[in-house]
Each structure stands twice: as structure tokens, then as C-alpha cells.
């Protein structure tokens, strides 16, 4: 028996890979990496929402076509992908050195670098910096890292109001909702839902507001303008941090990013440690890969780059918070660490047949879709997101579009195997899966037993309707909770063969030829 997708080798070998120490995962009880419900439960809920499925279908279809068009324009797209993969692999190979270099370069240019082992530490650092600046409100650029650590909740607990300024994040924040897509967090809302949220939550909006996207964008502009012009602290994430120069980079569309990184006196950037890239020239690769893969544009409208403090231009107090929060745990897995190569373009979400039907909320993490299914469990420890590696049909579309060639299907299978292995180590009773595999091994080892089992399986026909079994009894119920099983055929292949070729049967057939 060789590769069984999603199933453990059995009988099991002892774990072949044991890290020297327990890896440090993202802590529980803070941030948005863990689901309240396992994926199958949440997905069932999402699938019942017809409006959600319509919104998702329309949005993902649109963006897939845009991406395909701008990718096909470039004669060297595959070379760029290969370069992106190579740069990321090389970065991870020397991550400590690149981070030390980034730290030194930012510091040399008048910035202050902070390190955070986890979400709690990062939240404390940012809160203290905002308080030191004497601010009670901050403006924020869309940032997955700050959402991951639950920064807005931490700031609110300290009496600091955080205003999301990206249009989609604003829709999510005003709707007391959660983002459902890496790039288009309000992808699950259509225009009339958004108008209703604005009318309900914005005190400065006209009651005549229509659901025309341009009118809604104008309402957001008016609503946020005063905040931008008066804000004293801005908070951002970073798409890239260049080790060689200390340059931080934010890629965006609306200008809210430029506002947040330019107008306030204090700028605080929270960046995952895996976002460092070694050299300035590497930007020439990623500034082509990212916009074409994410929004399907040749270039996003605005990209801001800053290096420490520029006297007389922009924030004069510049901070960088380097965040671990489970990333080093992912790094410790020689296969799984490829998930850290992700540049958060979201192309894999848009092509995923599972994401397209369930949307992002079902994944329960700020990182949804195929990349989320391999990243979130590694950040939290697999047992805390155990259903995510199974939230895929392994069709491979995600791998084809990934701008840095992360082999997501391979990672999914790898994490499934790790999950089963870890569960076996910690559980004293064998799982239903393990018992089934042991039984299968016993039955398949002997032709007589197989014949008897096949004959017995025909009793399963009693459970089926129209060729399908939708509910098997325990312990097999776990299988039919998420899928139908076919009804066993009325006769086995062996019986069929005997009926058609009864003349030339021989005992040798029963010895098998495997």
C-alpha cells in the first residue's frame, strides 16, 4: 500500500519526524485563526444561504476572468512564478539573517523595530505605542496580520477606537461582521445589503443613498475623510519588507493606504516574519506577480514604500512590529513551511470549487480558502483546525494559479497525514478510521475473506435509495455526514466473471496476481 490520499499508512510506522522542542503555536483565546465550528458544520450553514452563493459565484467568476486576461499578457509569467518561488525558498532558508538585516536597516533609518512572539505580545506592543502617542483613535489600512491577532479587540479593550478604512473592511466593520475573503473581505455582501448597512450605521449619510457602487464609494469617502485629515496614528500591515534596504511596502487600490501611511505623525506596521524579502530587486518580481494574481490588474492603483523616517515627509515616528504567532512552528515542518511563501493574493480562493460554494466564513480563520486550509492549522497546531486540511477536493486548481507555486494539494495531503499521526499518538482508543483500515488490511490479505466480505456487503443494498446511501450507521456515519456512499452492486466482479467466463476458471485466479 502506498499513497492513500487523506488516510494514514496502516499499520502505522512510528512518527518519522519529531521536532526537537514543542513548536510555539498561536495562542488560544486571542485573534481570529480558530473556527467555532468544524468546517463541515460551518459549510453546511453557508451552503443553505442562497444569496451568499449567488454573490460568491458572481464575484469569483468575474475575478477569475480578469486574472486570466492579465496573466496571459506576460510572455514570462512562468519564469516570474519560478523566480517568486525561488526567492521565497531562499528567504526561508536564511530567515534569521534576513530579519536581523531588516531590523538593522529600519533602525538605521530612524525607525523602531519590535519583536512579538505571539498575538498577545503584538497587541500589547501596539496598544502601548498608541497610548504613548496620546491617541484614543487610530486609522487602519486593511491588514490580515492585525486581523489575525485580533488587534481591534485589544485596542477597544484599552479604550482606543480603530477605524478600518478599506471600503470592504469598513463594510465588514459597520456590519459587525467578519471578513470572508483575503482581498475582497465583503465579497459575501451585495450592493443592496451594503446600502442597508451604510444607512443603518453611518450617521453622516444621506437617506437617499442608492445602491450604485459609485454612490456607495462616495459615501465612504465622505465618511472617512475627516478621520484621515485629523488622525495622529496610522496602523498598517506590510506586503513586503526588504531586508537589504529596510523598505516597507503596502499595495492597495483606494488611497486609504496612502492616507494611513502618510498623514499621521505615528505609523505602526505589523508584519509577519515571513513577509521579509532579501533584496530590493526582488520587488521587480513580486510587484508583477501580486497585482495580476490578486485583483487581476496589470498594477494596483497605489503602492507605497517607505524606509524608516523621511525628515519632513510623512510620519516622524515609525514602528515595525515583527510577528511570529505560530510562523516558526510552520517553519519547523520541512514540507509545511511552503505555506509561508504565500503573498496573500487570494487567487487560490477564486478558483477553488469548495471556496466558491461555502465562502470564507466556513473556514473560521482570517485565512480562508485553499491557502488558509494549509496555513491556519500550522499556525494554531493541527488539532485546533483539524477539519481544514480536509476542506478540499484536491483538484489542484489552486496550485496552477499560485504566483509562488505553493503546492497546496501536496500540503493538504501532508497535513491530513500529520493530523492522523498526531491523533494516533495522543488517543488511547483507536479511531474508527484506524479500525476500518485494520479490518480492510485483514480482509484484503486473503481471497476467501474478501469473497465473504463482498458477499456480506450486498446487505448494504438495504440501506440505499436510488443507488445512494446517505446515512451509514456508526462508526461509518462520519463518512456519510459529508458525502453519499454508492450502494454496493447486486453482484461482485468475481461473481460476474464466473457467470461470463465460467468455463475457463481455474484455481490460479483465486491465488490472486497481486
Amino acid at each position: 500500500m502506498t499513497a492513500f490520499l487523506g488516510l494514514p499508512g496502516w499499520p502505522g510506522r512510528p512518527g518519522s519526524r519529531r521536532p526537537p522542542a514543542e513548536p510555539a503555536h498561536a495562542p488560544r483565546g486571542v485573534g481570529h485563526l480558530r473556527a467555532a465550528d468544524p468546517f463541515p458544520v460551518a459549510a453546511r450553514r453557508a451552503l443553505a444561504d442562497a444569496q451568499l452563493r449567488r454573490n460568491l459565484g458572481k464575484a469569483t467568476t468575474t475575478i477569475r476572468a480578469k486574472r486570466a486576461a492579465v496573466v496571459s499578457e506576460l510572455p514570462d509569467w512562468e519564469e516570474l512564478r519560478a523566480a517568486g518561488e525561488a526567492i521565497k525558498t531562499a528567504t526561508m532558508a536564511d530567515l534569521d539573517r534576513h530579519l536581523e538585516q531588516l531590523d538593522a536597516a529600519v533602525t538605521a533609518r530612524g525607525g523602531t523595530v519590535h519583536w512579538a512572539r505571539d498575538a498577545i505580545e503584538a497587541n500589547n506592543i501596539v496598544t502601548a505605542l498608541v497610548q504613548a502617542a496620546g491617541a484614543t483613535e487610530v486609522v487602519k489600512v486593511k491588514s490580515l496580520a492585525t486581523d489575525e491577532i485580533g488587534l481591534n479587540d485589544a485596542l477597544a479593550a484599552a479604550g482606543i477606537a480603530a477605524y478600518e478604512t478599506d471600503l470592504a473592511e469598513l463594510i465588514v466593520q459597520l456590519g459587525h461582521d467578519r471578513p470572508s475573503h483575503v482581498l475582497v473581505p465583503a465579497i459575501h455582501r451585495n450592493r443592496s445589503e451594503i446600502r442597508d448597512i451604510f444607512l443603518r450605521e453611518m450617521n453622516d449619510v444621506s437617506p437617499d443613498l442608492t445602491d450604485d457602487p459609485a454612490a456607495l464609494a462616495e459615501a465612504a469617502r465622505q465618511h472617512l475623510r475627516r478621520k484621515f485629515l485629523s488622525a495622529t496614528v496610522g496602523i498598517s500591515g506590510a506586503n513586503f519588507g526588504v531586508a537589504e534596504t529596510g523598505t516597507l511596502c503596502v499595495v492597495e487600490s483606494e488611497g486609504n493606504g496612502r492616507m494611513c501611511v502618510t498623514l499621521p505623525q505615528t505609523l505602526i506596521t505589523v508584519m509577519g516574519i515571513e513577509k521579509v524579502i532579501p533584496s530590493w530587486a526582488d520587488l521587480g518580481v513580486f510587484l508583477q506577480l501580486l497585482p495580476r494574481s490578486s485583483t487581476g490588474e496589470r498594477m494596483n492603483p497605489y503602492t507605497s514604500m517607505w524606509t524608516g523616517v523621511t525628515p519632513g515627509d510623512g510620519p516622524q515616528s515609525v514602528h515595525l512590529v515583527l510577528l511570529d504567532n505560530g510562523r516558526t512552528a510552520a517553519l519547523a515542518d520541512p514540507v509545511g513551511r511552503a505555506a509561508l511563501h504565500c503573498i496573500r493574493c487570494s487567487a487560490c480562493l477564486n478558483v477553488c470549487p469548495v471556496y466558491e460554494r461555502t465562502g470564507g466564513h466556513a473556514y473560521g480563520s482570517v485565512y480562508p480558502g485553499p491557502i488558509g486550509a494549509v496555513l491556519s492549522p500550522q499556525l494554531t497546531g493541527i488539532e485546533d483546525n483539524a477539519s481544514l486540511p480536509y476542506a478540499s477536493s484536491l483538484c489542484g486548481a489552486c496550485y496552477d494559479v499560485c504566483p509562488v507555486k505553493i503546492n497546496i494539494p501536496e500540503l493538504l495531503v501532508h497535513l491530513r497525514a500529520r493530523h492522523v499521526e498526531e491523533a494516533r499518538r495522543t488517543q488511547r482508543l483507536p479511531s474508527a478510521e484506524a479500525i476500518t483500515m485494520a479490518a480492510a488490511s485483514y480482509v484484503l490479505a486473503d481471497p476467501g475473506r474478501l469473497a465473504a466480505a463482498q458477499s456480506a456487503s450486498r446487505s448494504g443494498r438495504l440501506l440505499g435509495r436510488r443507488g445512494r446511501i446517505t446515512a451509514l450507521p456508526p462508526p461509518l456515519a462520519a463518512w456519510t455526514r459529508a458525502r453519499d456512499a454508492p450502494v454496493p452492486p447486486p453482484q461482485t466482479f468475481r461473481q460476474w466473471w464466473q457467470g461470463h467466463h465460467g468455463d475457463d476458471r481455474g484455481d490460479r485466479d483465486d491465488r490472486g496476481d497481486q
Binding site: 518519522s16 464575484a59 519564469e79 451594503i194 456607495l216 530590493w280 503602492t303 516558526t328
Partner: protein
């Protein structure tokens, strides 16, 4: 142990976890043969400017071609169409502006964001432009000014010289100095956050007009 030491120690421990649980061999990147993607282009002259103009137009920027002789007329015509009279300019713009315009240079003490919001528009030059992507890059030089002046006013008129135009993104990266505050601009601000329908004009200037100067 400080958080810095701790995180670095975790990284080093992780790096020691090779595929077989031992040495870092599996962790090392393959030696790179050098970039195979395009880093240089032979595209030049009018073809390059035409590509830039068409890509800028694709993303809803207004584009005009001018020569050194017609530059002043193009700038004047653009500002007149826009009815832009109160203009903010960088400290050393060195461009001819029409008589009906009152230009305020952003010099120390710098204009506040609220003051910038009161202007009809801003006129700047650029550092580099990328034809393939329809992108203009500002680097904060004295003819481009602080980042805030090209951000807060609702109208941005940008003058790009032919010699500043490159074909490819890597060529632009190679020309730019990392230490400067950079703003890459590709069309006016936009959002696709509502049903992925593109809307031009959110927080940045809602109108971007570009004059390309050749010869």
C-alpha cells in the same frame, strides 16, 4: 530572553529540522541561475510612449502627448478644463503655469492636510514611469514634493518626460532609490470592493491627468 532572541532561536531550531529530522541540508535553496524573467527591454522611442499612454488610458487616466514647445499649452489647457485655479506645487516644480492659476509651493512650514484639501489640484513631475503597467512613480524629489501633496487634493496633473519612461517593472525598480519615500500610481484611486465592479475615485485623487513630453 528578549522576544527578538526568542523568535530568532525558534527560527534557528526550525531550520535544523530537515526532512529526516537532522541537518539543514533540505532547507537550503538551490543555487539560482540568475533571473530568467525579463529585466531589460529594447522597446524605446514613440512605441514606448504609445504603450504607456494606452495603458494609462486603460486605467482611466487622462493622457496628453506634448513636445517641449507645446508643454505650456497642454498644462494650461488641462488646468482650464478642470477649472483648477488654486494649485499646490512642490518646492521646485520648474514648469510653466498659466496666468489664471495661483500656485502655492509646499515649503516649510508645510501645509496641513486640511489646507491641502482646500486646493483645486496639484501639479508634479515624476521619477519613473512603467509603460507595461501604466504606472507613474513619485520619489519625493523637489519637483514632486511630499507624499501628502499628491494625495489629498482631488486632482493630480503629472508631467512625465520621455527619458523617464521604461518598459518593465524590473527596469523601474533598478532605477529607483530605495531610501526615498515612493508612491507608485496606476490610474486614479479605485475600488472593486462592491461586487467586484470597478469604481474610480475613492480616497486618493479622483482624477489623474498625465502629460507625456517627448523631444
Amino acid at each position: 530572553m528578549s522576544a527578538r532572541d526568542d523568535v530568532l532561536a525558534r527560527i534557528r531550531a526550525a531550520a535544523r529540522t530537515g526532512a529526516d529530522g537532522t541537518g539543514p541540508a533540505s532547507f537550503a535553496a538551490a543555487p539560482s541561475p540568475g533571473p530568467r524573467y525579463r529585466t531589460r527591454s529594447e522597446l524605446a522611442g514613440p512605441e514606448l510612449l504609445e504603450l504607456l499612454a494606452s495603458r494609462l488610458t486603460d486605467y482611466r487616466a487622462l493622457v496628453h502627448l506634448a513636445s517641449a514647445a507645446t508643454l505650456a499649452d497642454e498644462i494650461g489647457a488641462a488646468l482650464r478644463r478642470r477649472q483648477a485655479r488654486r494649485i499646490v506645487v512642490p518646492p521646485a516644480l520648474r514648469l510653466p503655469l498659466p496666468g489664471f492659476v495661483t500656485a502655492t509651493a509646499d515649503t516649510r512650514p508645510f501645509l496641513s492636510p486640511a489646507e491641502l484639501a482646500a486646493f483645486d489640484g496639484v501639479v508634479t513631475r515624476a521619477a519613473v514611469a512603467v509603460a507595461e503597467t501604466g504606472t507613474i512613480v513619485l520619489d519625493g524629489s523637489p519637483d514632486q514634493g511630499r507624499r501628502a501633496i499628491s494625495l489629498v487634493p482631488d486632482y493630480h496633473l503629472c508631467v512625465v518626460e520621455a527619458g523617464q519612461v521604461v518598459h518593465l517593472v524590473p527596469e523601474a525598480v533598478a532605477r529607483l532609490a530605495a531610501g526615498r519615500p515612493l508612491t507608485w500610481i496606476s490610474g486614479p484611486s479605485a475600488t472593486s470592493d462592491i461586487e467586484l465592479e470597478r469604481v474610480e475615485g475613492v480616497h486618493g485623487p479622483r482624477t489623474l491627468e498625465v502629460v507625456l513630453v517627448s523631444g
